[in-house]
Amino acid sequence: MSTLLEARGIGMTFRNGDELTEVLKGVDLTLEHGELAALLGASGSGKSTLLSIVGLLLKPTAGTLSIAGQRVEGLPDLERAQFRNRRLGFIFQFHHLLPDFTATENVAFPAAAPAGAISPAMRRRARDLLARVGLADRMDFPATRLSGGQKQRVAIARALMNKPELILADEPTGSLDRVAAGQVLDLMREVNREDKATFLICTHDEQVAARCTRRVTLKDGSVESA
């Protein structure tokens, strides 16, 4: 396996007026291609902040970050957005599907927006992905008519649309019941196994972490164990 993600000395300090809050203190983290890693930690340990930095949604105040061999921590906003679009996938606790679009359109959206239209090839891939996540019979359903578990599966398909090298998931099963959560987790494991896609799953759920191939634990802004 080769290195996909290399974070060195990542620090993050938030300023609130005169008050400075140091959330991350020199985090070092390396992920290899094809890993299914759980990022654990108590509430306030900084795991969501680390995930946001790795997902280029937040700029660290210290440290370096390389993804697929490219230094990314200092990229300007437009390039960060392009990098996110082409090389990263996101799954959030709340699916954030676009309610005015069908399941297929939601999945195709990350590819269609930069291209200017949903091409037939994009539509085919979106439908293949939906079939893969078990929603072959819901492809043309508006997002509003899907159940919570179905919406999260559409969100997973959407995260896979642009064939990202790294998929970042923030409490992906946090808003689902036990059955739906199990299905979503199985799905992520399947994608990891079959596509060799790398996952970094931020969770506080030990049962989720137990089904991952690696555990990274944050405590008080530092990596406690990896």
Binding site: F94, D100, P114, G116, I118
Partner: protein
């Protein structure tokens, strides 16, 4: 364009709200169209009323002004008295008429002799303003022949046409003789060939028409004339044409607007008031669009945040909201223009009991192109602020909310 698809989908996602918003825009545009058509119609009617029976431009010799002359004797009167016995006249009027005929804006020309006189019938005497013109072109400036209520409009060598009030004051009727005494002190017995009634008291009581040939000896103008009256195809251009004619002929050229300065002032004031109402209509429309799109952008923060998270550019997000503004503006302006035209056309058909229009409205003068463009461009500009705030949205902050 995918941004257009997203914008359209957003607008259709809440049809009732979008319909309400478009209705608001349409109403504002309709108000704009109505005011514009009403002001345009009113201006047209007033202009027509003023210019229908009068010249658009009058050409006359410059007014003679007494000049101060140097005098060796300081005690003597220093002012040179200009003779007022010899009438001001346009001697070379045929060349001026040729020039006028070649001007593309001029539709009709009437060389005239105008002067003051008295009509005497027995003991009754009445002052009249005499207008002498070519009998063959008697209706060139005013449609006199259609206003004749008794007799006819054939002037002939010894004929005179007088107004109905004047005829009544002097106890005259068509076919009767009357004595005309001009300001040159010359008398001539004429026959009343016709009596006209325009409805304007000043004309019906004080004006009399003669032929040019009859008037020449009466006003001691064997060759010249006193004025040339001009009609234009477009009365609105009278001021510019008058300036040109003054330059070209050296004559004093007075446009109908100069003769009716108070009317022009009233029309200007009316136009400015209309502009204010139009501006407020548009501003309220644009504020409505801006606030509706701001609410929409706020309501969709989560969606915009997730789009930004998976790498959709800020310009795409901005385009989605600007296109919504464009669509609302175009559809609202289109519907507003169509309903405004329908409303004005219906109002145009309403009449008073006397058969005249209830409202002097001109549906064709609704300013449709202007209001369509202003609303559409304004709607796009009004959407820039919400579009900008949506485009700048921090994805993390929006998602966490």
């Amino acid at each position: 364009m995918f941004a257009f698809t997203v914008a359209r989908r957003y607008l259709f996602s809440n049809p009732a709200q979008t319909a309400l918003l478009i209705s608001g825009v349409s109403l504002g545009v309709m108000a704009f169209v109505f005011i514009t058509a009403l002001i345009g119609g009113l201006a047209t009617r007033l202009t027509d009323d003023v210019t229908a029976n009068s010249a658009h431009i009058s050409l006359e010799p410059e007014t003679r002004i007494a000049r101060v002359l140097p005098s060796p004797d300081a005690a003597s009167a220093p002012v040179a008295i200009i003779s007022t016995f010899q009438r001001r006249q346009i001697r070379d009027w045929t060349s001026t008429v040729s020039l006028l005929r070649s001007h593309p804006a001029v539709s009709a020309i009437s060389p005239q002799i105008s002067g003051s006189a008295f009509l005497v019938k027995g003991e009754a005497v009445s002052p009249v303003a005499v207008t002498a013109l070519d009998p063959a072109n008697i209706d060139t400036i005013s449609s006199i022949s259609t206003e004749i209520i008794s007799g006819d409009a054939s002037l002939g060598a010894d004929g005179i046409l007088i107004g109905s009030r004047l005829a009544e004051n002097l106890g005259l009727a068509a076919g009767q003789p009357v004595l005309l005494r001009t300001d040159r002190g010359i008398d001539r017995l004429l026959i009343v060939r016709g009596v006209f009634q325009t409805g304007l008291q000043s004309l019906d009581e004080r004006v009399a028409y003669l032929s040019l040939q009859t008037a020449r000896p009466l006003f001691l103008l064997p060759e010249g004339i006193t004025n040339i009256e001009v009609k234009l195809y477009e009365p609105g251009g009278a001021r510019e044409v008058a300036a040109f004619l003054h330059e070209a002929t050296g004559l004093r050229a007075t446009s109908w607007q100069q003769k009716n300065a108070s009317l022009e002032g009233a029309l200007d004031a009316q136009s400015q008031t209309g502009t204010l109402i139009q501006a407020f209509s548009l501003i309220s429309v644009l504020i409505g669009i801006a606030s509706a799109l701001s609410l929409s952008a706020n309501r969709r923060r989560g969606e915009v945040g997730i789009m930004r998270a998976f790498g959709v550019s800020g310009s795409f997000i901005a385009a989605v909201f600007v296109l919504q503004g464009l669509l609302i503006g175009m559809v609202g302006a289109g519907i507003g223009c169509a309903s405004g035209f329908a409303l004005c056309s219906w109002l145009e058909t309403l009449t008073k009991p006397d058969g005249t229009m209830a409202l002097p409205i001109a549906p064709r003068e609704g300013g449709y192109v202007a209001v369509f463009l202003l609303t559409t461009i304004g709607a796009v500009l009004a959407s820039v602020i919400p579009a900008g705030s949506a485009a700048r949205l921090d994805p993390l902050e929006a998602i966490q909310q």
